[in-house]
Amino acid sequence: MRYRRPGLDITSHTLLILCVIVFFLPVWMAIVAATHTQSSLYTGTAPLWFGSEGLGNFLAVLSDPVSRLGTDATRLLLNSTIMALGIAVGKITIAILAAYAIVFFRFPMRMLCFWAIFITLMLPVEVRIMPTYKVVADLGMLNSYSGLILPLIASATATFLFRQFYLTVPPELLEAARVDGAGPWRFLRDILLPLSKTNIAALFVIMFLYGWNQYLWPLLITTESDYMTVVISLKRMLTSADNLVPWHTVTATTLLAMLPPIIVIVLMQRYFVKGLVDTEK
């Protein structure tokens, strides 16, 4: 149902535009600040238009080691990407397999397994951070990609979502596949995965962002700058006891840190739509 009322149109548009300005202004200021030199940012007024540096600050943080970090933004972005991809891919893989087992196989204590997985929803990283740290430290995985990824890789949410989706798959489809000679792996690969393309795309976006934005865990286990993620580095750059905060570098890094999530969303959104158009339950 749609209403056509000119007054309502104007009000809602005004409201929306205002919201966009409110949300976009800080981003704009970051973009602007990233094009200035450090000294021009300390003149007392925050600039609202581009400065003299252009893309210079971006290129500088990407190629030269950033002060107080000992590594450049390229490395930071790479670390973040590896961590986010590892978490997203790992979570989806594990969730698909776990949900597949729970829905399509009959084994003893099947429901117990399901509930055990489900209960872990109540235990995010923050709650179990001390024991997890101990385990990871004992396994010698501090300052490593596996240490960054593995503790975050199991996801009850994703398992649950896949389970719900699998339950909607008509049982005749499985039976038809069995009659057609597809074993469990073939059924998963040829029928179930193509059907859950949309779910996989959606979850990938969510899980990639979740991995990218991780703060507490990487902060805890990465002490070497070689494994530092970009989100952590921002905080490090800001904590300066004696020097001025290098705002031009910070904003440039921030903007760079924002890019991959945006790229993922934009790219995967096309898959969403394609998946929605192509498949039919």
């Binding site: 008509p170 005749e172 039976e175 038809a176 069995r178 057609d180 029928i191 039919e280």
Partner: protein
């Protein structure tokens, strides 16, 4: 092509419910056997057991000479057409049809040749690249058939394949299934709850009730000599009329006072079965059943009349020629054909024959 032999096939579910009570049956090579019955009679369970989708609790199942109880569906060399078709939504028509061949490791060229051959046979050659979603109900049904045919199985299993189609398409597809099955000469088991489908398709017909075979025979045998009131009421449309009557030798007395000549020699209370099409209107006479028309259903070719007969709770259904004009409230005199009366035991519902009753009386 194979014979199918069921030897005391029994199904008990874990909760103790017995779905099938030991079925013995041989289905001949190239035969189309239809299993018909109300929902919950075990007909789908039977089919799924033949397919290997459901475990066999007791008894043996042979396809050809081989006992297949323990075999997976694919190893039994059967093909199944499902009620909702169960097409793979993300695969094209060709993909759906060749999936079984692909799993069997048949090379691509041969797969394509077989799919195209089958597509021509069932008129799908222009639709091979489409997705199931882009097809009409009838076309999907055809793809499901094609998927079964392309594998050249020993046995076809049909699980109510036409019940999702509209009436006109159902008639058309019914003919087509019959023609294809005869042409390919593949043994087939067809499950349905629609007695018209059952009558028209079957070489032989099984009426099932509560996990047992109520009667097995050709469609006309079941129509002409139903073994029980259950079969009599299930086969034929509209259903047979059942009247309470009292028999004394070859004379049947109805509660309304009319007397009919019985085809069998029995004594005592009986259930009399008369098909709607075997009641003939006659001139007024004491032998005839006097009825009053309550409701008229003109169908074009036929006219059905629902009429009340004194002493009977259920209205009597009578089928007239379509040219006959009837009005509600009309009085009619009907004479049933003696040869076409069916006499059943009123308690157990089984058919009474002269030989059987002459020994008891």
């Amino acid at each position: 092509m194979a014979t199918l032999r069921l030897d005391g096939l029994k199904k008990t579910y874990p909760n103790g419910f017995v779905a099938l009570h030991g079925l013995d049956l041989t289905i001949d090579d190239g035969e189309l056997l239809v299993v018909v019955g109300p929902s919950g009679c075990g007909k789908s369970t039977l089919l799924r057991m033949l397919a290997g989708l459901e475990d066999i609790t007791e008894g043996s199942l042979y396809i050809g000479e081989k006992r297949v109880n323990e075999l997976e569906p694919v190893e039994r060399d059967i093909a199944m057409v499902f009620q909702n078709y169960a097409l793979y939504p993300h695969m094209s028509v060709a993909g759906n049809m060749e999936y079984a061949l692909k799993n069997r490791g048949i090379p691509k060229e041969e797969r394509r040749r077989k799919v195209e051959e089958t597509a021509r046979l069932i008129g799908l050659q222009d639709l091979l690249d489409r997705r199931p979603r882009q097809l009409s109900g009838g076309q999907r049904q055809r793809v499901a058939m094609g998927r079964a045919i392309v594998r050249e199985p020993q046995v076809f299993l049909f699980d109510e394949p036409l019940s999702n189609l509209d009436a006109k398409l159902r008639v058309q597809m019914r003919l087509e299934i019959r023609r294809l099955q005869k042409r390919l000469g593949v043994t087939a088991v067809y499950v349905t709850h629609d007695q018209v489908e059952a009558m028209t398709l079957a070489d032989r017909l099984i009426v099932m009730n509560e996990g047992r075979i109520e009667q097995l025979g050709t469609p006309m045998t079941l129509y002409e000599q139903p073994a029980s009131t259950f079969v009599a009421g299930f086969i034929g449309s509209p259903a047979m009329n059942f009247l309470n009557a009292n028999a004394d030798g070859d004379t049947l007395t109805l509660p309304c006072g009319s007397q009919l000549t019985s085809p069998v020699d029995v004594h005592g209370d009986i259930t009399l079965g008369i098909r709607p099409e075997h009641l003939v209107p006659v001139e007024e006479s004491p032998q005839a059943l006097t009825v009053q028309v309550e409701l008229v259903e003109p169908l074009g070719a036929d006219t059905l009349a629902y009429a009340t007969l004194a002493g009977q709770t259920e209205p009597l259904v009578v089928r007239f020629d379509g040219v006959r004009r009837l009005n509600e409230g009309d009085r009619l005199w009907l004479a049933p054909d003696r040869e076409r009366l069916h006499v059943f035991d009123p308690d157990h519902g089984h058919r009474l024959t002269t030989t059987e009753t002459s020994t008891t009386s």
